[in-house]
């Protein structure tokens, strides 16, 4: 049906994806209750059985209840600046998620140190491409290659890699992925692929 609606601008087909988006959002809202209950169940079990680290489980439960109660009681405008929910978001949630994200900077360095080795030709290519892009994209690259004429410096090389070989690879991957998705979708629609459903 969604295939059809792409081609037909007519009611009800032009409404179908709207419906789906709305319904999906509503289903999600109900499903998260299941998820949250599951998390609470596990944490409470941990506390009752006094498993190692149950103290942290208490922290999980308390912080979960805290933000949920505040958020639900503050009504529709819970997100506006000045509410307690906003305070928790800005001063607790944001530092945590930003730092978790930032910690990747360290991991990326140690992973490249440990895992990116010129094991064979393919791996070497990967390394070289990474090298040129990394160095060519920051001012330091042009300082190093400053002796070269304008247009043949590291920053130009980095741009060239990005625009040409990189695009080719991305394109092949993209076409492949799209065909894979088409075929998977067809299998699902035709009912050949039903591993995700326990019978009908």
């Amino acid at each position: 049906m969604f295939v059809i609606q792409y081609f037909i601008p007519h009611f009800p087909f032009n409404r179908m994806s709207h419906w789906f988006s709305d319904w999906f959002a509503i289903i999600l809202a109900c499903a998260i209750v299941l998820g949250a209950l599951n998390l609470m169940k596990i944490s409470i079990q941990k506390v009752i059985k006094k498993k190692p680290g149950w103290g942290y489980a208490v922290v999980i439960i308390v912080s979960f209840l805290l933000i949920t109660v505040i958020g639900l009681s503050e009504g529709e405008g819970f997100r506006e600046p000045g509410t307690w929910f906003d305070w928790l978001y800005v001063y607790v949630y944001t530092p945590c998620s930003s730092t978790m994200f930032a910690i990747l900077g360290f991991f990326v360095a140690s992973a490249s140190y440990r895992a990116f080795r010129a094991r064979n030709f393919e791996a070497t290519l990967l390394l070289l491409a990474a090298f040129f892009v990394m160095i060519g994209r920051v001012p330091v690259g042009d300082i190093i290659s400053g002796f070269m004429p304008e247009g043949a410096r590291l920053s130009n090389l980095a741009s060239w890699i990005m625009t040409f070989p990189q695009t080719a690879g991305q394109r092949a991957i993209m076409i492949g992925i799209a065909l894979g998705i088409v075929s998977t979708s067809l299998r699902v629609i035709l009912g050949i692929e039903r591993a995700h459903l326990a019978g009908e």
């Binding site: 295939v3 059809i4 792409y6 081609f7 037909i8 601008p9 007519h10 009611f11 032009n14 999906f24 289903i27 999600l28 499903a31 998260i32 209750v33 299941l34 998820g35 949250a36 599951n38 998390l39 596990i42 945590c96 998620s97 978790m100 994200f101 990747l104 991991f107 990326v108 992973a111 490249s112 895992a115 990116f116 990967l126 990474a130 690879g169 991305q170 991957i173 076409i175 492949g176 992925i177 065909l179 894979g180 998705i181 088409v182 075929s183 998977t184 067809l186 299998r187 699902v188 035709l190 009912g191 050949i192 692929e193 039903r194 591993a195 995700h196 459903l197 326990a198 019978g199 009908e200």
Partner: protein, 421 residues
């Protein structure tokens, strides 16, 4: 009753019929479009002599916007000859509309130099006519009025006809090969390294008596990668049930939790071991990306799984997960269609399914001819793509360089076939 996940359904010809009916019928039923002409005289306002009068706009045409649900009328005109950048008298235009022969209403004001406007505040079933006034600093000169026009709804977007045909060709190829395979014809599919290792990886976990961790990415059920991951999970869980190994699957979406439970349960039932299944195999943690990762890392360090599957849609967390998995010494089989995350999987995991291979995996693992058939269909798509690229580049290069007309025509044709506008 729960059925075996691989049971066939004898309804494909019927499905085909339905598909084609829905696709083709609208093609046959042609839509009519009408173009209103400028034929009714407007009543020009006789200006005072002291007023600066601009010449009216000419050739005003109102036409229905094609291929929509009757929501738009396109207006175009030739600007007033007094509309010039230097010493122009025109300071703007006003567009008026008459609804069902009612009073004229101004619907918009436009800057000088405008020559078109799309009126999107129209409704089907009403007649509209328009006129445009050229504004000078102290006078207004209306143009002639257009004939009344009704916005039309069309049944099929012809501009997308080529997309439809290509989609049909591809879909047809997939279905054709599925049918061929069903009739028992052997189809060859090459080996996919990561998938050959699945059995071995599960066997290893069994020998070591350690659990298997399955991470289905962090997106919800509305992403095809998650679907693909769950179909693979179905196959894997079947093998796991046979081996009697433990599987653990922390997820970051409640819907995936439910779907994952259903999948594993179905596989255990199919393997004849429904008693060994428990809901605790799949747990929800949090929707938040890094909160989830922090928890999964903890699980990896504590449970020390022998095998980790990282299949689905991954974002920044791919590196953290793969690194931690690597540090606890697990065999890791990863796969995603997100190119940004693939390098990390390639570096830190033992086997990686790249892009399309992820979607091919469940078909491949099933070993069923029907499913293999769909892979063949994908290959047809690739073959068409490759041929189009090859022919296209050759013809466009030759055609442009030596000005050979018939070769240029081929190029134009090809471009039209693949255009989506």
């Amino acid at each position: 009753m729960p059925s075996h996940p691989t049971t066939s359904r004898p309804s494909h010809p019927a499905m085909l019929l339905i598909l084609f009916t829905f696709f083709l019928l609208p093609c046959i039923v042609l839509a009519q479009t009408e173009v209103g002409q400028t034929n009714i005289e407007g009543t020009p306002i006789v200006p005072d002599s002291e007023q600066i009068v601009a010449a009216p706009v000419t050739s005003l045409i109102a036409a229905d916007h094609k291929y929509d649900d009757g929501e738009m009328i396109e207006l175009s005109w030739v600007p007033s000859i007094d509309d010039q950048l230097v010493d122009g008298k025109v300071i703007g235009y006003k567009v008026y509309r008459l609804e069902d022969d009612g009073e004229p209403q101004m619907i918009t004001e436009l800057a000088p130099g405008s020559n078109a406007y799309n009126d999107q505040s129209v409704e089907r079933g009403k007649l509209y006519s328009y006129f445009v006034s050229a504004l000078s600093s102290n006078a207004e000169t209306p143009s002639v009025r257009t004939a009344p026009i009704e916005p039309q709804r069309e049944w099929l977007n012809y501009e997308l006809l080529n997309v439809l045909i290509m989609a049909l060709v591809l879909g047809g190829a997939v279905i054709y090969f599925i049918e061929t395979a069903r009739r028992g014809k052997k189809l060859f599919v090459r080996k996919i390294a990561g998938l050959e290792a699945v059995d071995e990886a599960i066997g290893r976990a069994t020998e070591m008596g350690r659990p298997i961790l399955f991470i289905p990415g962090i997106l919800d059920m509305d992403d095809v990668q998650t679907l693909a991951a769950l179909t693979i999970l179905g196959r894997i869980a079947r093998i796991i049930a046979d081996y009697d190994t433990k599987i653990f699957m922390p997820v970051s979406r409640s819907l995936v939790m439910t779907a994952g439970r259903e999948t594993i349960k179905a596989s255990y039932q199919a393997a004849g071991r429904p008693d060994a299944y428990s809901d605790d195999m799949v747990t929800y943690i949090t929707d938040e990306q890094f909160g989830y990762v922090a928890a999964v890392d903890g699980i990896m360090v504590r449970e020390r799984p022998a095998t980790v599957f990282l299949l689905g849609a991954f974002f920044a967390e791919s590196l953290i997960l793969a690194e931690t998995g690597n540090s606890v010494g697990a065999i890791q089989i990863a796969g995603t269609a997100r190119p940004a995350q693939l390098p990390f999987f390639i570096a830190a995991c033992d086997f990686t399914l790249i892009g399309e291979e992820l979607f091919a995996a469940s078909a491949y693992l099933s070993g069923e001819p029907k499913q293999m058939g769909s892979l063949k269909g994908q290959d047809v798509g690739k073959a068409i793509a490759m041929a189009a690229i090859l022919i296209g580049i050759l013809t466009v290069t030759i055609g442009d360089s030596w000005d050979v007309e018939w070769i240029q025509n081929i190029t134009t044709g090809l471009t039209e076939i693949f255009s989506t506008k």
